[in-house]
């Protein structure tokens, strides 16, 4: 395996990552009756809302303190206070998340102080304002997401009696994935608190009347009691300890942490099911075992096609790890694996795995699409967000969309990829894309092979 960080280039050409507050917004969206305010220029809020709305096809209300030139000189406290006033009056939320931006951090805004002074003056010290320091230059949406979750838990979790609800902390997966995890938990008869639960808030059913703050999200009182859980299952093996909510709960309240990968692929899903079985003390239900059997059956049915796949995998580190594992299990061997943001844990995690890859393999820690493309010779399928269409355009590589953002197709919120059943569906998407691409080009390719350079066959 060849490892590369591309540090010799100054240009980021077609980036594969976004900025911290983006991840922060997404994390807050999974908390019951929450509203988010971005402290900075209003463009940050507008740009991010635009992208989130396009992916989920949902209203995304995110406030901004609309700082302007005056604020950069005199500080943004007045704007932040006004913003809080207006959000509370119009939305009446149960929690407000305040995320900073490049602007607020560069001018050195102390949002913690402003928020506590604001609440104190109103005699509302109990109202939860969760502040997160999330400058755009401080990391990608991945770090912003996990840091925000840690801040939420730090703010809300209190010392409570032990109870039997297991903490499930999820990375940024699709609402459909979260619903699938909840179904598995239910099948295994496990009581749980799942954070952040944006399965409804970012994928609302059509219902009347329209609600400004959508139903759903992890309940505040459940978050407060995460400290008394028998354990935390955190799907975040790539998460640094400083921004790991599971680690915080373990260190502060002694809640044992089971840090697991996203349950995609047989092995990763087995690991989750085994841990859940430990918690439930019951045998795995037969229906789930049947799902596992069906996945194996699907893997066998498709193995000839999958084995012809050579993949380019990119995106957030946690998803990249899970997708890579799944591809490896099915012989869709990667040519390039690239995490959008630099990640300290991913190289170690992938090292052992990638030694099984029979051909040359490139790992980019923090790669852009220009870097990915440069290394992708021999690949015939790309797996990741919509931005991978660049690889399709430039190298004719079909793209299987997963992750965020998916803006040139609908249904990113409904893509199911976790658990045994989800893995089978994800795998089918890969197999069918390979088949479609192969069949669409079959005659042409065979003709070229036997009569090189004579003429072009245009029909399919």
């Amino acid at each position: 395996m060849e490892k590369q960080t591309l540090s010799y280039r100054s240009v980021t050409e077609n980036p594969c990552k976004m900025c911290m507050p983006m991840g922060g917004i997404l994390a807050f969206k999974g908390v019951e009756r929450s509203m988010v305010l971005l402290h900075g220029s209003q463009g940050c809020s507008t740009y991010m809302r635009r992208h989130i709305a396009e992916h989920f096809n949902e209203p995304i209300d995110v406030g901004s303190s609309s700082l302007n030139e005056k604020g950069t000189i005199y500080g943004g406290e007045k704007n932040l206070r006004q913003g809080l006033d207006n959000l509370i009056k119009v939305y009446n939320p149960s929690l407000i998340g305040v995320l900073t931006t490049c602007l607020a951090e560069t001018i050195g805004e102390d949002i913690d102080r402003v928020a506590s002074a604001y609440l104190q003056e109103r005699g509302q010290e109990e109202f939860p304002i969760v502040t997160v320091s999330s400058p755009g230059y401080g990391g990608s949406e991945f770090e912003g997401y996990w840091m925000t979750l840690t801040r939420i838990v730090t703010k809300l979790a209190q010392k409570v009696e032990k109870h039997n609800k297991v903490n499930i902390i999820v990375p940024f997966i699709s609402p459909a994935d979260i619903r699938e995890l909840k179904r598995i938990l239910q099948l295994m008869k496990i009581e749980y608190t799942l954070l952040p639960d944006f399965s409804d808030t970012l994928d609302q059913p059509f219902a009347r009347p329209y609600k400004r703050i959508p139903d759903g999200g992890t309940k505040l009182r459940d978050i407060a009691r995460m400290s008394g859980a028998p354990g935390t299952i955190q799907l975040g093996v790539c998460v640094a300890e400083g921004i790991s909510p599971g680690k915080y709960l373990e260190d502060t309240f002694g809640v044992p942490l089971y840090n697991l990968p996203i349950p995609m692929g047989i092995e990763n899903t087995d690991r989750l099911v085994n841990v859940l079985q430990e918690f439930s003390g019951r045998a795995t239900p037969k229906s789930l075992l049947q799902e596992r059997g069906r996945l194996l059956d699907a893997m066998i049915d498709s193995h000839k096609y999958n084995f012809q796949g050579r993949s380019v995998i990119f995106g957030e580190p946690e998803l990249v790890y899970a997708v890579t594992k799944t591809c490896l299990e099915n012989g869709v061997f990667p040519v390039v694996v690239s995490s959008g943001s630099k990640n300290a844990k991913l190289p170690e995690l992938l090292k052992a795995q990638l030694e099984q890859v029979p051909q040359q393999m490139h790992f980019l820690n923090g790669g852009d699409f220009a870097g990915i493309l440069a290394k992708s010779e021999g690949a015939n399928i790309a797996i990741g967000s919509s931005e991978g269409k660049y690889l399709s355009e430039k190298a004719g590589m079909p793209l299987v969309r997963i992750g965020f953002p998916i803006h040139d197709r609908v249904g990113g919120q409904r893509l199911l990829s976790v658990g045994y059943t989800g893995t089978a569906m994800f795998l089918d998407r890969i197999t069918n894309t390979l088949l479609e691409h192969k069949l669409a080009n079959y005659r042409h390719n065979v003709y070229e092979k036997f009569y090189p350079g004579t003429k072009t066959v245009t029909e399919g």
Binding site: T12, A53, L67, T101, G136, Y137
Partner: protein
């Protein structure tokens, strides 16, 4: 139905029954009354209420003033963007043969990457950089120690790999705060590589919305690009520039199709499908067309002062608006052959599309619309809606100024505030080499009586009494006003689209056209009619109760013109 002067499409000819917003003697009834507005605004804290009240008008026959281009209220879910978005995203971004570098942390570059659907085709595909996104991806250390070196190195790499004719650098928030000297980096790079490098201090916090960024971009293009070409005069007759046309969904291509046929010679488009090479020679045009007044009027005004070229406010959205614009252009040049050709093309195009439009009109007539878009489309689309028999009962702009609402006559009365003073005004004077009055002053004055030459009357005069005009409409007001008006369609952007659709009302994105378009010109009108009719008639709505269900459609007759 006749195809005479106005296509026989007067909305006031239509009679409606039982709809929530009804027309009576040309006035919209059951609209928002002052009491209802007061109730709505009472949901705000007192200070906010006072502020917002000045941004909302119920149209009446009196001359009315609206507050616009003032600071956004914090915590209100506004649809406005920032100066960076207006500069890099709107004005500079569509110029295809320049590499647009975003100096800052990665987010701003990512979020402005290919999101506006400004189409372009280049003769040399290697000189079309629209699908690329270039960022210096500043990290914490760059914020502490400065990002100039990284930027300079990045320009070296970009020049080496892409060999662009020119480069722009757009600043994001932290850049201005840490004091990176963009113009110094740009200047050094120009000397090193012999390539034009323009820098724009369009930090997101400047001004009150993306409007500030338009102005900053206008200044830069005027100062460093326009007039730098070698041309002394245009190579063909009827040379024009098209300003403020961004070729969303191919709008510009449809407009150019018609203009080409009539015999116009388009020098430069600002900036949809635009190119640096063309922009350089924009000074030789005989007339500048202004489509989006808000984003480009600065250049239009400066071109007039510097090169003696007047501008004409056009609107290529809607059949009648397109026809009027074409006739006004012909009148400006005053050449009989051109006038005749214009009429010939108009007659043929109108006759071709009218039967198609008539089919769609049957599906749309009697419905009502909200039209809240950007800085010009909130006005431009009303005529097209009316041609389909759809009444615009509420309209407004995200980031426009008072002149876009009330007309340019209010300009002298607008006092610059602290925010607008932060955007440098570029003062130009007649160019020694290229200035020439394109038409005699006397004739210009005469024309101004007939056509909107170097003038824009704004949105308000075209709206019916009783309709509502809202500046910087936010999500809360959107929701409340939908409940009051129950419009049949809401034309807006992607951020409010899903609020509206969750309320059971179809939304039409007029920023990016929902992956459709073009909507401009003759063919665009048909495409728009098709899309809007589809929105009303898809069987999807059979499963919910949309506002027009159980209510009679058109019951009157449409008179022959």
């Amino acid at each position: 139905m006749g195809l005479d002067s106005d296509l026989g499409l007067r909305a006031s000819d239509l009679e409606f029954q039982g709809s929530p917003a009804t027309l009576l003697e040309g006035r919209i009834c059951y609209a928002l009354d002052a009491k209802e507005l007061e109730r709505l605004l009472n949901n705000y804290p007192a200070k906010v209420k006072k502020n917002r009240k000045q941004h909302i008008l119920i149209k009446d026959s009196e001359r009315q003033q609206i507050e616009a281009n003032t600071r956004t209220i914090p915590g209100i879910i506004t649809n406005r963007g920032c100066a960076f978005a207006g500069c890099k995203g709107v004005v500079l971004g569509p110029i295809k043969d320049m590499v647009h570098i975003v100096h800052g942390p990665v987010g701003c570059a990512f979020y402005s990457w290919g999101t506006r659907r400004n189409k372009a085709k280049a003769a040399d595909p290697k000189k079309n950089f629209l699908n690329y996104c270039f960022s210096t991806d500043m990290q914490e250390s760059d914020i502490v120690f400065g990002g100039e070196k990284k930027l300079a190195k990045m320009i070296d790499e970009v020049v080496e790999v892409f060999k662009p004719e020119a480069i722009t650098i757009s600043a994001t928030c932290p850049v201005g705060l840490i004091g990176d000297d963009l113009s110094a980096v740009a200047k050094a790079a120009e000397q090193k590589h012999g390539v034009k490098v323009l820098s724009f201090n369009c930090e997101g916090y400047k001004g009150v919305s993306q409007s500030a960024g338009h102005h900053i971009a206008n200044n830069g293009l005027m100062e460093r690009v326009i007039g730098q070409g070698e041309m002394n005069e245009a190579s063909a007759k009827y040379a024009i520039n098209i300003l403020g046309e961004y070729n969303i969904g191919g709008d510009g291509w449809e407009i150019e199709r018609v203009l080409d046929e009539i015999g116009y010679h388009v020098i430069a488009v600002m900036t949809g499908d635009g190119s640096y090479e063309e922009l350089k020679n924009a000074h030789v045009a005989e007339l500048n067309l202004v489509q989006c007044h808000r984003s480009i009027n600065y250049i239009a005004g400066m071109l007039e002062t510097k090169y003696g070229t007047p501008w004409l406010k056009v609107n290529f959205i809607g059949i009648q608006n397109t026809i009027d614009s074409l006739r006004n252009m012909a009148l400006y040049f005053g050449d009989e052959a051109l006038i005749n050709k214009t009429e010939e093309v108009i007659a043929r195009e109108a006759a071709r599309i009218e039967p198609v439009m008539e089919q769609y009109r049957k599906m749309c007539a009697g419905k009502t619309a909200f039209c809240f878009v950007g800085g010009s489309r909130g006005h431009h689309y009303q005529g097209l809606f009316a041609e389909l028999g759809i009444e615009t009962v509420l309209a407004g702009y995200e980031f426009a100024h008072r002149d876009d609402y009330e007309g340019r006559e209010v300009l002298p009365g607008i006092k610059p505030d602290a925010d607008s003073k932060n955007i440098p005004e570029l003062h130009v004077s007649p160019d020694e080499k290229f200035f020439s009055l394109k038409i005699p002053a006397e004739r210009a004055e005469q024309l101004k009586q007939q056509i909107p030459l170097s003038n824009y009357r704004g949105l308000i005069p075209d709206m019916k009494d009783g309709s509502v005009i809202v500046d910087d409409l936010n999500h809360f007001e959107t929701e409340e006003l939908i409940r009051i008006f129950k419009p049949d369609i809401f034309a807006s952007g992607i951020k409010d689209k899903y609020v509206v659709q969750k309320m059971g009302i179809p939304a039409k994105q007029l920023h990016s056209y929902d992956y459709s378009g073009p909507y401009a010109g003759f063919n665009g009108a048909v495409k728009f009619a098709e899309d809007v009719s589809a929105a009303f008639n898809t069987p999807t709505w059979n499963f919910i109760t949309p506002p027009w269900k159980n209510k009679p459609l058109l019951t009157g007759t449409v008179h022959n013109a």
